[in-house]
Amino acid sequence: MIDPRRDDRERLPEPVRDYLGELGRLEPPADLLDGALDRIAALPAPRRPFPWVRGAALAAGAVAVAVVVVGGGLLTDDRPPGASASPVPTPLELSPPPLDALPAAGTVEATFPIPPGTAPALHAHGSLWLTSDPPATLTRVDPATGDVLATIELSTLTARRYNTAPVSDGRWIWASAGGDETIVRIDPQTNEIVDRYPVEAAGYQMLATGTDVWMTDFELNVLVRIDADTGAVISRTRMPIGPAGIALTDEGLWVSIWNAPRLLLFDPDTMEQLAEYRIAENSIKVEVSGDSLYISGNAGRPAERFSIPERRVVAQTEEMNVVLLADRPWGMTFDGRLVRLDPATLAWQAGRQVDMAGCDCDSLVAGTDRLYIGTGAAELVVIAP
């Protein structure tokens, strides 16, 4: 639609002209019209306005329904259930219920002391793995007794602020050593570092598949893929802005961007960008359960459920760290409210106030059947659901 030969208009900057030109040539999605007709079919038939009741037609048509369930909200409007059109995922103004109005979320099973400066980061191989920041160490703890089983020094260098990000691929523990920009492979049988690989990045979030290890480094704006057998860097993808959360599904590799309101989908083999979706900014972490991505963050960002089939954010709730216990979402707010969430709506189903001892943190890890919370008093709180 943009004709560069036209010179009677004030000149548009070239990148903007190209961008708008591209948009003007976009083919509308095949289901655009059908989706609208689906929605229309669910509406009352249009009525002719009568002069003596001005606005009657508007009133007849204006059936906007905003569903807000306690503490969580489905982003719906007037469309029927299952309709594919998505509203703009604007954060809703939510009023989460007071915790005393909810059933208690689990029971406190135990409280153990943990080394000062550590926080739970991973449950794997029957143990809880605590990180410290800095220096970069991993502390392995027996979650039933609180006994320290091992302390593994990852790097003597001053760690970058965001580091370690331990993950398990079922056989090995992988962790970023932060300051020296290496990742380490740890044998959980011996608690020894068996390999150390230079990757020129510090893991903000990591993902281990057994054949590959993926890591995001949002300070260097890179997404790194490492061969789990050889430690070789298979790809290093530069991003225009900081990648943070990462998840792998049949659809591809999902990467959330911390300081842009975006969720990107890549082909993991070619790193071709397949799609781009709008989510709230300041995402940190992406968890997968079934056909949902639970996206957590900070800086006041709402926690979100992104529906993979619908390709949109369908529910939001207050800022919290969302983890999955037996595939069900639980969340921890920065002021110590532990809540069990409805998997679809993120409505708060149960809640508990945890004394975080002044720690402005949301340190929550899910094990196989327990939740683990690290407090500011160097304590580990074990919650039985």
Partner: protein, 189 residues
């Protein structure tokens, strides 16, 4: 969905006739009525709110058009009428976005040269333009999109947005200034 597509046995129908039938609840007539406008509406929506939300805005426009059809006074102005609905919807989306602004991003890129895939370089440029457009006020962006993407003369832009032509001119000038400044700052960084 194939059952909904226009039945050729019905023969040619005038826009007036389709509007009348659609007003009486004939969804197939409505489909015939709006189908020729889909590409333009979608392009405009993409220009206003970005491609990822264009589908939603275009669909919302069609649903609104159906509801508001009894208020369409001149069937021969259907294109302009749909455009006005879309621009109102898109400006509302942009206003909502401004209430929850994204943090401006710094497209500084990572380090290291080996083994780089760079599928993101084009994306970085695009995001820079989106960022610059995102800094425009909704009315400024609307003027730019209608004038340059939809290729409308300023008088028509003014009619679409319900503004005076002089106001449109000043908003266009301000918008272009902002875009130049934003893109220059981007390049400098």
């Amino acid at each position: 969905m194939s059952g909904r597509h226009a039945d050729p046995r019905e023969g040619a129908t005038t826009v007036d006739g389709l509007v009348r039938r659609a007003r009486d609840g004939d969804l197939r007539a409505f489909e015939q009525l709006v189908e020729p406008h889909l590409a333009r509406l979608y392009g405009l929506a993409a220009g206003m709110v970005g491609p990822e939300e264009a589908r939603d805005v275009a669909q919302d426009t069609l649903v609104s058009a159906w509801r508001e059809l009894p208020r369409l006074n001149r069937a021969d102005r259907l294109d302009a009428w749909l455009r006005s609905i879309l621009m109102n919807r898109a400006r509302n989306v942009l206003r909502a976005r401004r209430r929850h602004p994204a943090i401006p991003f710094d497209p500084a890129i990572g380090h290291g040269d080996a083994l780089h895939h760079e599928p993101m370089s084009a994306l970085a440029g695009r995001w820079a333009v989106e960022e610059a457009l995102g800094r425009l006020r909704p009315d400024e962006r609307a003027v730019v999109v209608l004038h340059y993407l939809a290729d409308l003369p300023l008088r028509e832009v003014a009619t679409t947005l319900g503004l005076r032509e002089g106001t449109v001119k000043s908003r266009l000038h301000a918008a272009l200034q902002r875009l130049r400044v934003a893109l220059a700052a981007e390049e400098a960084s």
